[in-house]
């Protein structure tokens, strides 16, 4: 199983080489955990690794600052890769609280529960790899700490053409159940509306006057 998990780079501040505990498809220590990393096993529909990409994905409060009304976010909200790509993810947590990079919908025969998961219990970083199948598909990536995805920590991985945007991704897609915000009407807005009605009422007369000379 160690072979499957490949090279796991531990968070930088642990000087003692903490051997992460290996529990079937999971490695974990007091800084975080990785589940279902897969740096080498090809999905059934892939003959070879089509491309190898490296993504640095940061998570934290600060990444939500560019999205008003969100509290947590990843440093990017979507990533595009080719079918059968191998992804090397460096996951960095910029907050002193827990964040996750949890990806769903992968084939169950390679990734139990269809999941690839990286989690950091506080500030730090982890690196792990996985290989996507050949089909065009958009995968959900999120943090499942309660209310983190809901309040902004949601992104998508687009393989090939993808299969359409997922809802409620900051800056990318509208919410399926969107908040309604009040419109700031004022006296001026009411007045403008009334003036428009008045103009509308006078319009037939104005048109008649304008058309009359041509009739003659």
């Amino acid at each position: 199983m160690k072979r499957l998990l490949g090279v796991v780079i531990l968070s930088g501040f642990s000087t003692i080489a903490m051997a992460m505990m290996d529990h079937s498809r999971m490695v974990m220590d007091e800084h975080g955990m990785i589940m279902n990393a897969n740096p080498s096993q090809l999905p059934r529909d892939c003959r070879e690794i089509f491309e190898e990409v490296h993504f640095e994905i940061r998570a934290g409060r600060q990444h939500a600052q560019k999205f008003p009304g969100r509290m947590f976010a990843f440093s990017a909200q979507q990533w595009r890769v080719k079918p059968c790509a191998k992804l090397n993810i460096t996951f960095i947590n910029d907050d002193p609280i827990r964040h996750q990079f949890m990806l769903h919908g992968l084939p169950g025969y390679l990734y139990p529960d269809g999941m690839f998961h990286m989690e950091l219990y506080g500030k730090g970083q982890l690196t792990a790899s996985f290989i996507v199948p050949s089909q065009n598909k958009t995968y959900l990536a999120h943090c499942e700490v309660p209310q983190h995805m809901e309040k902004g920590m949601k992104a998508q991985l687009i393989v090939g053409e993808g299969s359409g945007d997922l809802p409620s991704i900051p800056g990318i897609s509208a919410a399926a159940r969107a908040d309604a915000y009040p419109v700031a009407w004022s006296e001026w807005s009411v007045l403008s509306g009334l003036v428009a009605v008045l103009v509308g009422v006078l319009l037939p007369w104005a048109l008649e006057r304008w058309q009359r000379p041509s009739r003659r």
Binding site: M28, R61, G69, F72, P96, E144, P146, Q147, E150, A175
Partner: protein, 559 residues
């Protein structure tokens, strides 16, 4: 040409028809003659009744030993995960990876340091708490997440402190149900007198919070001069972390709660019991009691005097306050509605919780399971926004301590109603010696807050903070009444539609009482009368219109 005479005739006819229409007008209610309307026995919808005990983890109930930790039997439907208890006693570093994997504790959730007094147990404790929102909003659809039901079909938003967890917050990818560790109330925390305790609040929530240690001996400032009182004006903001430091010199039953915008955050559920146990040799404590309830690994001091120990936390929720976080997903809107629109002085509490649940779910994990001739310790905390009048049927209990302070022996009187003001605590001795005073003998005795609205769930009774003092021989293997007659008396409440006001049910329409106490059969509308009403009203209007238009036309012509 319309004659003047005809005009007036039409008008008069219209008037007659209009008065006929008035006589025939439809009514929303009718009175009956000698015979009253029939009865329909309307029973509960079969499809939304649930089994009283879902029996998800029967293996969690037995007495067992994990990692050398003796865990008492918990003969209830939904006891705590015994592996959680092993971790709560030994710390994450004190258990094997195999045990840790049976729990969802993060690997830094609870760590122990040195044994300072050399008495065989650790005296430095570092525990980490997160803030979870149960039944929160989702921008992805009309559902709440992570789901937590206080009673059948009832999911108000709740905020709770939770031991730092890891991995999934939901039971699986297709579920929206929270895992067992994410629940209300906040866990009871147990430390030893004299322990050096570090409590880290990692604010995973989207609003600021603090931890205030109510009644717990703590310095006002930390060693480096920061707030140590959980002052609401110095909150821990979202994504931030803060450690409170204590070394309590006094033992007793205390509290912890958030002190930010206290009138809202307490009513959202942010409170738990904080117990300081007497210092004894080899006193390995169950640092977290998830969801309060039975303490399955009690302290040395408690074991000396009692056969069992229960933590009981009473809380209230306001459904209007809860709804704020479910209606919007924007923290700015939530903050404004909570802090500016919501007014606690114009509000009432709607849900009365005992250990995070309302009846009948209290029967799943908040029964006091006892045997005859036992001494049972109850640690009761009132975090309701109302006084508590705790009453146990069939027993008189004795307070041994109040607000964490021992009561002198001579003042320890058995009583059957204990009043606790908000934030007060009592240590109660429940004796099951059948002497006609302390106990009237075995039974499934109710216990509840005797304030009438507290035994309702949003006004539907039975509900609220009621549960049973249950003598074990009367319970079946899943912790529910053995006797079928008694089981039937409680089973009807395990139904969503029972707590839905709009789903009408006749409570007592059984056997010979069906005709007298069933639901009044719906009364069919009288269509003949309705037709008569419609025709006469229509004709009256038609005639009137006819007379008027003809009359006007005639006028124009004559001019």
């Amino acid at each position: 040409m319309m004659s003047r005479q005809r005009f007036w005739t039409e008008c008069a006819l219209a008037l007659i028809l209009a008065s006929a229409a008035w006589q025939l007008r439809p009514h929303s209610t009718v009175t009956m003659g000698a015979d009253l309307p029939a009865t329909t026995p309307e029973m509960f919808a079969e499809n939304d009744s649930e089994p009283p005990c879902p029996n998800e983890h029967p293996d969690w109930r037995a007495a067992q030993e994990i990692e050398g930790v003796a865990i008492d039997a918990a003969l209830e439907c939904e006891p705590d995960n015994p592996y959680d208890i092993a971790v709560a006693v030994k710390g994450v570093e004190g258990v094997s990876m195999r045990t840790l994997m049976q729990t969802q504790f993060a690997q830094d959730a609870l760590t122990f340091g040195e044994d300072m007094d050399g008495d065989g147990d650790p005296d430095v404790v570092h525990l980490k708490l997160e803030v979870v929102e149960l039944n929160g909003a989702s921008p992805d659809g009309e559902f709440v997440i992570p789901g937590y039901r206080i009673a059948p079909g009832i999911q108000p938003a709740i905020w709770a402190f939770a031991p730092k967890s890891r991995d999934m917050a939901l039971k699986n990818f297709r579920s929206t149900e929270a895992i067992a560790m994410l629940r209300a109330p906040s866990p009871t925390i147990r430390v030893e007198q004299g322990d050096k305790v570090y409590i880290t609040l990692e604010n995973t929530h989207y609003l600021p919070h603090t931890i205030h240690l109510h009644g717990v001996d703590h310095p006002w400032r930390t060693a480096n001069g920061e707030d140590n009182d959980g002052d609401g004006d110095m909150p821990v903001y979202p994504g931030e972390s803060k450690t409170y430091e204590i070394q309590p010199r006094h033992a007793g039953t205390m509290l912890y709660h958030c002190h930010v915008q206290t009138d809202k955050h307490l009513q959202m559920g942010m409170s738990g019991l904080f117990v300081i146990e007497e210092n004894r040799p080899n006193n390995w404590l169950q640092t977290f009691n998830i969801g309060a309830g039975l303490v399955r690994h009690p302290s040395v001091a408690v074991r000396e005097r009692y056969q069992r120990e229960y933590d009981l936390l009473f809380q209230t929720l306001d459904k209007h306050l809860s709804a704020i976080v479910q209606r919007s997903n924007d923290p700015r809107v939530i903050a404004e509605r909570m802090n500016r629109d919501y007014n606690i002085t114009e509000s009432l509490e709607h849900y009365y919780l005992l250990n995070g649940r309302a009846y009948p779910y209290t029967l799943r994990d908040a029964q006091l399971v006892v045997n005859s001739d036992e001494a049972i310790k109850l640690r009761v905390g009132n975090m309701q926004n109302a006084p508590l009048a705790l009453h146990l049927h069939g027993h008189k209990v004795t307070a041994t301590a109040q607000d964490g302070v021992e009561i002198p022996q001579a003042l320890q009187l058995p009583r059957d109603v204990f009043d606790l003001a908000t934030a007060q605590r009592a240590d109660l001795l429940l004796s099951t010696v059948n002497d006609g005073l302390h106990s009237y003998g075995p039974g499934l005795w109710m216990f509840h807050d005797h304030v009438d609205r507290a035994v309702t769930t949003d006004g539907i009774t039975p509900g609220g903070n009621m549960s049973f003092v249950a003598y074990q021989p009367l319970l079946n293997e899943s912790g529910m009444p053995k006797d079928e007659h008694h089981a039937a008396m409680i089973n009807y409440a395990f139904s969503k539609s029972y707590y839905n006001r709009n789903a009408q049910h006749s409570l007592w329409a059984k056997g010979e009482f069906t005709e007298a106490l069933g639901k009044v059969a719906p009364i069919a509308p009288d269509y003949l009368q309705l037709m008569g009403f419609g025709l006469s009203l229509g004709a009256a209007l038609g005639l009137l219109l006819h007379a008027l238009t003809r009359g006007l036309m005639q006028r124009e012509e004559t001019q």
